[in-house]
Symmetry: C2
Subunit: 220 residues, 2 copies
DNA sequence: CCAAAAGTGTTTGGCGTACACCCATGG
DNA sequence: CCATGGGTGTACGCCAAACACTTTTGG
């Protein structure tokens, strides 16, 4: 009477490493889509909440147990022929991570988003939806810091914005904006010269979730 | 091996009628939650796409076949005890509708959002998520016009914004903003005096999806 | 001393708000 | 002629872009 459907959770885990926005993927070694890149995913269990399933997939399939990854629901994909074998409904989650080493045991690797053209199933579309969500999240939330290590400089945070948005920002205006935004950055008192030049102050993530006013990205 | 789960599509259909933002609901006449208000919903079929399922529920269960309702995916709700009888995953859709008569045949009615305090399952939370989505959609898209009839005046559109946001707006600045926004409103050449006073120009929805610049709601 | 990067001060222009004012109808 | 709502002009203030300038390190 009531149709029953397998439901998977698929993760679009993004990070900023080197000069590229990158996604956590693995190379399929079996049909269908053998040799194509795929997102990590898994079927949800009968007694399992959706956020719990996403956290389990992050730990077990993506090989990042306990990592400080911000996870949020992205969208649900359900057209019947997504998977050629059988119908699968997929609840996609977006994860924002600092530059952690990818798990070799789980056969995962970071690949620049721009180079991931041949992906399995509809994973390319899901990933690009996640990228667009991440880009707009940087505008009106403080989640840019989720891409950074626990302590970071304003310049490192600016490089995150520049790479995710794909545009250069004025260092001086950026500095003023983020340091003036209430609850965005907490000074640690320490400094670093790891980027050369005058020592830069180190900050931690502040408690603010939303930015007032937002950091609107330049549009041309 | 792979857990199979029933998946429903639930609709948060909103409109502006009278002086209140209202949702399309029905009163349950069977346990569980007998007598409580509920959103319209239905199980998705095995060969059915998610948008198709939402359109079918809108036509068959909500009693609005063919109505000009803007439908978009809202979020997916999946904690196991949402429904006390059995686990059901629910993909919620948000619908923005003009002030249409509710179908008596489908036992649906419009109820002001503020008065819908006792709702079945987690429908109150789903509805409020939809309300918040609608509020922010008015800021950066042209979807405010989805609440209006095919031809409407600037003042009628302004009242939509005022009721959805729950705040009064300056009529003169609002007029300038929406008429200057590229592709938002198309003049029909006709006028009306149905609101009294000087005749107001009538407009149709323009092709623009996104507003540049956005209509930021006042925050205090 | 010089290069490099952090951080500050100042100018300027665009945009949003507030509000005075005029326009076009019904009664 | 007045009430009512539609629509326009304008001054002011804030904020963000642009950029000159100072500070503090390494070599």
């Amino acid at each position: 009477m009531v149709p029953l459907i397998p439901v998977s959770v698929d993760l679009v885990v993004l990070t900023v490493r080197g000069q590229a926005l990158s996604a956590l993927v693995w190379r399929r070694d079996n049909p269908p889509y053998e040799g194509h890149w795929a997102l990590s995913g898994g079927f949800i269990q009968l007694d399992e909440d959706l956020p719990a399933a996403a956290a389990r997939v992050l730990a077990e399939r993506a090989g990042l147990p306990g990592a400080p990854v911000h996870l949020e629901q992205l969208q649900t994909y359900g057209y019947p022929d997504r998977d050629p074998r059988r119908r699968v409904l997929s609840v996609a989650y977006l994860g924002l991570a600092p530059d952690l080493p990818a798990s070799t045991e789980a056969h995962m690797s970071w690949q620049p988003v721009e180079e991931l053209t041949a992906m399995a199933f509809d994973h390319r579309r899901i990933m690009m939806d996640g990228v667009e969500r991440a880009r707009s999240k940087l505008e009106y939330t403080s989640l840019g810091a989720a891409f950074c290590p626990p302590e970071f400089t304003v310049a490192e945070l600016r490089r995150v914005y520049e790479i995710v948005w794909g545009r250069l920002l004025d260092p001086r205006n950026f500095h003023r904006k983020v340091t003036n935004a209430e609850g965005f950055l907490i000074p640690t008192g320490r400094t670093t010269t790891r980027d050369g030049g005058r020592p830069a102050k180190l900050y931690r993530r502040g408690p603010a979730e939303n930015l007032h006013p937002p950091m609107l990205r330049p549009r041309d």
